[in-house]
């Protein structure tokens, strides 16, 4: 039997540092927004309106365009009970779905294990960026982590190509599992071969790629381009992950200038990625999730905002049911949680929807429980 339906693919873009939800989807119609943001406020006349209450940050034009085409779902008030305002801890909770104890397995590591239980493809999960995010970690699950797709590989420091080829040839032989060397060395050997195989395959992606889309030069744009290149190369990758530079969204100071730049870059990268896949007729099977570890304080601190809770997430894709999901959290004093927006959407419900309705996996064991799903797919 042949099928023309392509395997679903999930792409995750992590906005590290705690994106300010209030200045992203701006409640410009709410006088409390103006009261609480005497200094760090988007001018009402610049907001790109969604309705008479809320609108996009003016730097998010490209995502507003996709929203108007019905390709963007905005998940309002997303979070979890008893929010942590530590970057590390809160990100860890989003990565492991363990708000009460410290977990050691990531939700996407588990998803990769379920997608490819026999470890047939070393590229089922691919991270762009250096160091593997906890979300992708699960014991025994190989996930490639690529700092730079153009130069990714083993022994890349050997400059003369002929020498490197010889060295890699030796590498592949000394990393072959040998009889009787024991489980630890067998594991290292297999890991080395997985890394080599992944690098060999991935290194061919840029040459196979051509596109009329010109991405920006910032890190997010380049990694989104790398994800498009790898997806279009058809290596069977099902889960892609990348991260905005470490804590870049942590806008304690100088928020208006920084946040504008961050969203200019991010929304262009997201729209370029969408357009790129569409141009290659390869977007139907892809959903992009954009998330952050928490929102920021309702009241500004004069030049920026401090760590808060309830945030906003986005889903972008050809087959995403665009629109608004959840409720915009109230800014009224008695509805706030310790001065922060109160979540009304558990992120684990968002994950469950993606895992079951999009990826076709059983979400319960991955997110550690049953959570209400949404209709964005």
């Amino acid at each position: 039997m042949t099928s023309t339906k392509k395997d679903p693919v999930l792409v995750v873009l992590q906005l590290s540092g705690g994106n300010d939800a209030l200045n992203t989807i701006v409640p410009y119609g709410d006088p409390l927004y103006l009261d609480n943001r005497p200094n760090v406020r988007i001018p009402v006349d610049q907001v790109l309106p969604i309705n008479d209450r809320i609108g996009f940050n003016p730097a998010m034009g490209p995502m507003k365009r996709l929203y108007d085409e019905g390709k963007v779902a905005i998940i309002q008030g997303v979070g979890y009970p008893t929010p942590s305002r530590s970057h590390f801890r809160s990100m860890d909770i989003w990565h492991t779905c363990e708000p009460d104890k410290v977990g050691d397995e990531g939700w996407l590591g588990r998803a990769v294990r379920d997608l490819d239980p026999g470890k047939e493809n070393v590229l089922t999960g691919v991270n762009f960026g250096r160091g593997l995010p906890r979300a992708l970690v699960a014991p025994g699950v190989p996930v490639a982590s690529v700092g730079n797709l153009e130069t990714y590989g083993v022994l890349t420091g050997i400059e003369i190509e002929e020498q490197r080829t010889k060295a890699l040839d030796v590498f592949s032989r000394v990393y072959s599992p040998m009889l009787g060397q024991g489980p630890v060395l067998d594991y290292f050997a297999q890991t080395g071969l997985d890394a080599l195989e992944g690098a060999d395959i991935l290194s061919t992606a840029p040459q196979m790629y051509s596109s009329s889309v010109e991405y920006g030069n910032d890190t997010v744009a380049q990694y989104m381009r790398n994800i498009a290149q790898t997806h279009l190369a058809g290596f069977g990758t099902r889960v892609f992950y990348t991260t905005a530079p470490y804590n870049s969204f942590d806008t304690h100071a100088g928020e208006l200038a920084n946040h504008t730049r961050l969203w200019t870059e991010t929304s262009h990268a997201v729209a370029d990625f969408y357009d790129d896949l569409k141009e290659h007729n390869a977007g139907d099977e892809v959903v992009l999730l954009v998330f952050t570890e928490f929102g920021r304080r309702v009241h500004d601190n004069g030049s920026g905002t401090d760590h808060g809770s309830g945030g906003v997430a986005f889903l972008v894709g050809e087959n995403v049911n665009g629109g608004l999901y959840g409720e915009y959290p109230s800014l009224e004093d008695n509805k706030l949680l310790e001065g922060d927006l109160h979540y009304n959407n558990d992120f684990r419900g968002l994950y469950s929807t993606l895992l079951e309705k999009h990826m076709g996996l059983d979400a319960q064991p991955i997110v550690n429980g049953s959570f209400e799903q949404m209709d964005f797919i």
């Binding site: 530590s86 970057h87 590390f88 801890r89 860890d92 410290v102 050691d104 070393v122 991270n127 250096r130 160091g131 593997l132 906890r134 014991p139 190989p142 996930v143 490639a144 982590s145 590989g153 083993v154 022994l155 890349t156 420091g157 050997i158 020498q163 010889k166 060295a167 030796v170 590498f171 032989r173 000394v174 990393y175 040998m178 060397q181 630890v184 060395l185 594991y187 290292f188 050997a189 890991t191 080395g192 997985d194 890394a195 992944g198 690098a199 601190n301």
Partner: protein, 468 residues
């Protein structure tokens, strides 16, 4: 100098320090093994790093305002210290008694904690546990400041027993009960930190430990079978005299300095890899009155240690620091160290910010396909850079052996000068064949240095080099 003495010294310096150049190994071997052990065990016999120089070159390290600067500073100390075991013991206790930057009000608090490990870390285990119980970073990290006489928080009480002194169990039996956890937590009520001053507008402040007698639970407690009106120091005293405390320290020492053990949660039911060795260390724990330095002396002078070469997977910190010491980079404070410390993080060890209160899983769990590529490429880039002083020393030493050198000698000489590494025969033969394929090697040529650098790169990419 007998090569076997240098090989043994290389082993000692990898474990009790972060490795050494061949020249340092020769000098130390000439001085003698036991004399070197004594020097390492008594770090004050060697000069300390001059803090005023660090302040002049890297003022941002002094403020200790952020994780990356703190990691740079510690990495610099590990690379340059003349007291390698002092930094190694700090790393040892940091692996066990870890606090995390993620939950630290004031980052410098973790540096104060490290200083405690550098001093109390060699001494009496009971005193070290007392220091830890009063360490503001730990009191805050494990919420003892949230534990009150009428509403205890068990976090510190539990981790003190489970992760810091006894372990869940040994020889198949539990070391303590849930009631012991609660009683320990009650005994530690009132052990807190001074109220933190709000961060704004002047930044964060150092915290101080205080004992608040009005918030202490004075009622009777029964802990590990003993009953009395215990306070925190009584709990520490009772803990320190348990056989399980001896086992705990001995097994951690064995895992960190001798050979990889299974992960800590398995220790209740999995016996030690070398029960006799662990028994020797346990006996010394009681004989010496819980003295860590005495236990380390027994360990480093034992046959079980001397015979345990390449039985331990290097941690990311050991990999990066060891490589820098070998090639002689960052021997002065200069910009660029951040890339080194980030590499340690990319290899899976974010110093001062462990993933959980359990610290890092070690041994084979350091390696996955992502961290393996980081490790190999980092190490290969460093040893392949023939401008490094340490690499030049290897090149000139091999170059002085004659007008040409054979492929066998190139491989074996590189292994020797890296610190007497050993390869499986099949691996060694592959590298010899690789050298053969490049043709005759003449020592006086420009090509010679490059060829040595390439051989070093191939060696550090092997599975054997993942071990120390």
């Amino acid at each position: 100098m007998a090569e076997q003495d240098i090989a043994l010294m290389a082993h000692l310096m990898r474990r009790a320090g972060f490795g050494a150049t061949y020249e340092e190994l020769e000098a130390r071997a000439a001085k003698g093994y036991e004399a070197t052990v004594e020097e390492l065990l008594n770090p004050e016999s060697q000069p300390a790093i001059q803090d005023d120089i660090l302040m002049r070159y890297q003022p941002q390290w002094v403020s200790k305002a952020g994780l990356e600067g703190q990691q740079e500073e510690w990495t610099y100390r590990m690379i340059n210290t003349k007291r390698p075991l002092e930094e190694k013991i700090a790393l040892f206790w940091h692996h066990i008694f870890c606090t995390g930057h993620a939950k630290c009000e004031y980052p410098k608090q973790q540096n104060i904690e490290l200083d405690m490990f550098r001093t109390l870390g060699f001494g009496n285990f009971e005193e070290l546990l007392m220091g830890l119980s009063m360490d503001p970073a730990m009191v805050f990290y494990l919420d003892n400041c949230m534990s009150h006489k009428d509403a205890i928080n068990e976090n510190w009480g539990r981790e003190l027993l489970e992760l810091f002194s006894l372990g869940v169990g040994m020889d198949g039996n539990a070391n303590y009960s849930e009631d012991d956890v609660k009683e320990a937590a009650r005994a530690f009520t009132g052990w807190t930190v001074t109220n933190s001053i709000p961060r704004y507008p002047y930044g964060k402040y150092e915290a101080a430990f205080i004992y608040d007698p009005s918030d202490h639970d004075y009622t009777e407690k029964t802990f590990l079978g003993e009953t009395g009106n215990f306070n925190g120091e009584d709990i520490v005293k009772i803990v320190a005299r348990q056989p399980a405390a001896a086992r705990f320290v001995a097994r951690h020492m064995y895992n960190f300095f001798v050979a990889d053990e299974p992960q800590v949660p398995a220790w209740q039911n999995t016996p030690p890899r070398d029960p006799e060795a662990v028994k020797m260390l346990e006996d010394e724990y009681f004989r010496s009155g819980y003295d860590i330095r005495s236990m380390l002396r027994v360990l480093f002078n034992s046959d079980f240690f001397k015979n345990a070469r390449f039985e331990k997977v290097k941690s990311p910190t050991e990999t990066v620091v060891g490589t820098m010491r070998l090639v002689g980079d960052f021997d002065m404070p200069r910009p660029g160290l951040n890339a080194m410390t980030l590499t340690i993080r990319y290899m899976g060890q974010d110093l001062l910010n462990p993933p959980t209160v359990e610290g890092w899983h070690t041994g084979r769990e350091w390696i996955d396909s992502g961290t393996l590529v980081e490790r190999i490429n980092f190490t290969a880039d460093a040893v392949g850079d023939t401008s490094h002083r340490g690499v030049q020393a290897i090149i000139s030493r091999l170059g002085s052996e004659g007008a040409t050198i054979s492929s066998e000698r190139l491989v074996d000489g590189c292994l020797q000068l890296l610190g007497h590494y050993q390869l499986a025969d099949v691996t060694r033969n592959e590298l010899i064949a690789l050298a053969d394929s490049e043709g005759e090697l003449r020592t006086g040529t420009d090509e010679f240095g490059t060829r040595v650098g390439q051989m070093l790169q191939s060696i550090v990419a092997t599975t054997e080099y993942l071990f120390e």
